[in-house]
C-alpha cells in the first residue's frame, strides 16, 4: 500500500539531499580555508625552528664579532715584537698567536744587551701589562746610560718598553694585559731552543 505522497515529499524536503550536500560543501570549503589545529601546530613548530636558526646565527655572529673584537683588541691595544734574522739582517717582527718564529741568534757572552729583547708596545698609557717569567729573568737596560737592572721574575709595564730576558731551554713568559676598561687579556710566550742553540718564540693564549 502506497503511503501519502504529500507527507513523504514534505519530510523529504526537510532532509533534502541536495540542500544538505550544498551545506556540507560550504562547510568543507570553510574548513579548508581555516587552518586546522594541526596546521597551527605545524606553523608553530616551523616558526620555532626558524627563530632557533635565526637566533643561533645571531649568537654565532655575535660570538664571532666578539672574537674578532678580542683579536682586534690584542692587535690594536698591544703588540710584542721580537728580533728575527731576515737574510742576515736583524728585523723586528710582531709575535702572532700560535705562530712559532725563529729568533735572531743571541750569545749572552758576546752580546752588548743583557738578554733576548722583546719589545712591548702598548697603545694606551692608561693600560698596564704584568710580565712574569718562569725559568728565566727579566732585565731592563737604559741604552743612553748603559745601565742594566735585573728585575727578577716579575715586571709591570706602564708604557711601551723593551725588556730583556735571560732565557734557558724552556722559558715561559706570562703576560696579563689590563686595558683601560679593565678588561684582562692573558697571553704567554714560550721560548724553546733546539740542539743547535736556535731559539724560537710562540705566542699563545
Amino acid at each position: 500500500m502506497s503511503r501519502n505522497q504529500k507527507i513523504k515529499e514534505v519530510i523529504e524536503n526537510e532532509f533534502d539531499l541536495n540542500q544538505n550536500l550544498k551545506k556540507i560543501q560550504e562547510k568543507i570549503e570553510r574548513k579548508e580555508k581555516v587552518p586546522t589545529r594541526n596546521n597551527w601546530k605545524a606553523a608553530f613548530i616551523t616558526s620555532v625552528f626558524i627563530l632557533t636558526i635565526i637566533g643561533s646565527l645571531f649568537v654565532i655572529n655575535q660570538s664571532s664579532s666578539m672574537k674578532q673584537g678580542n683579536k682586534k683588541e690584542t692587535i690594536n691595544q698591544f703588540q710584542i715584537l721580537a728580533y728575527v734574522d731576515q737574510q742576515g739582517n736583524s728585523q723586528k717582527e710582531s709575535l702572532k698567536e700560535n705562530v712559532k718564529i725563529a729568533l735572531k741568534s743571541y750569545n749572552k757572552a758576546i752580546s752588548s744587551v743583557p738578554g733576548y729583547p722583546l719589545i712591548f708596545e702598548l697603545e694606551d698609557t692608561s693600560s698596564k701589562m704584568e710580565v712574569r717569567v718562569e725559568n728565566g729573568d727579566i732585565y731592563t737596560w737604559d741604552s743612553s746610560s748603559g745601565k742594566v737592572e735585573k728585575q727578577g721574575k716579575e715586571y709591570i709595564i706602564q708604557k711601551s718598553q723593551t725588556l730583556y730576558f735571560d732565557v734557558n731551554e724552556n722559558t715561559r713568559i706570562n703576560i696579563n694585559y689590563h686595558s683601560k676598561e679593565n678588561h684582562l687579556i692573558r697571553k704567554k710566550i714560550t721560548i724553546e731552543s733546539d740542539d743547535k742553540f736556535n731559539y724560537y718564540a710562540t705566542l699563545s693564549n
Binding site: R3, K6, I7, V10, I11, F15, L17, N20, K23, I24
Partner: protein, 182 residues
C-alpha cells in the same frame, strides 16, 4: 587524487550512503530538528579523514554510521546513551487492544495538499521522540510495521499502537482543517 577528484568521489559516496545514514541519524537522535546538523557534521568529518583511513567500499556505510554515532553523542553530551527501546510491552491490556486494530488503519488519505502536509509534519514533530521516528519511517521510508520494529528495536505491537494513536490524533485534529486548504 587531486582535490577535484576527491570532491567528485565524495559526492558519489554521499549519494550512495545518504539515505541509509539519514535514517540511522533520525532513529538515534533525540530531536528530529538536530538531524540535518548531525548529518552535515558527519559527512564533513568523513570528508576530512576518509582518504587517510583508506576505508574499503563495503565498509563506507558502517564507517559513516560510526562517525554519526560519535557526533550524536557529542551533540547531546558525553553521557547521552543511544536509546534502544524495550521489546516488551508491560501493559497486557494494551496488547489485547492492539490486536483489535485493523491493518489498514492508515487514515491520512485525506491529505492531498502540500500546505496541509506541512502542518501535519509540524504537528508530528511536537510529539514524543518515538512517535516521530515511527511516523518518519512509516511515511518517508515506507517501512512496514515489522521493519520499523526491527529498525527501532521495538515490539511490533508497540509500533502499531504508537502509530495508530498518532494517526488517530492527526485525523481528529486535521480532518476538519482539510477544507481550509482545498
Amino acid at each position: 587524487m587531486t582535490n577535484q577528484e576527491k570532491k567528485k568521489r565524495f559526492e558519489e559516496i554521499y549519494l550512495k550512503t545518504y539515505r541509509n545514514l539519514i535514517r540511522y541519524i533520525v532513529c538515534h537522535s533525540r530531536d528530529i530538528e538536530d538531524v540535518n546538523d548531525v548529518l552535515q557534521e558527519t559527512y564533513l568529518e568523513f570528508y576530512l579523514i576518509w582518504e587517510r583511513k583508506s576505508v574499503k567500499e563495503e565498509r563506507l556505510s558502517a564507517f559513516l554510521k560510526g562517525i554519526a554515532k560519535n557526533k550524536i553523542k557529542k551533540h547531546y553530551g558525553r553521557f547521552y546513551k543511544i536509546k534502544t527501546y524495550s521489546l516488551f510491552s508491560k501493559n497486557e491490556r494494551e496488547i489485547e487492544w492492539i490486536d483489535t486494530i485493523s491493518d489498514d488503519f492508515d487514515t491520512l488519505d485525506f491529505v492531498m495538499n502540500e500546505e496541509l502536509a506541512k502542518q501535519i509534519w509540524k504537528y508530528v514533530k511536537t510529539k514524543k521522540e518515538k512517535a516521530i521516528k515511527i511516523f518518519y519511517l512509516y511515511y518517508n521510508e515506507e517501512f512496514t510495521i515489522k521493519e520499523i520494529a526491527q529498525e527501532l528495536n521495538l515490539k511490533e505491537s508497540s509500533v502499531k499502537s504508537i502509530l495508530y494513536r498518532t494517526l488517530k490524533e492527526l485525523q481528529e485534529t486535521f480532518r476538519e482543517e482539510k477544507n481550509k486548504y482545498e
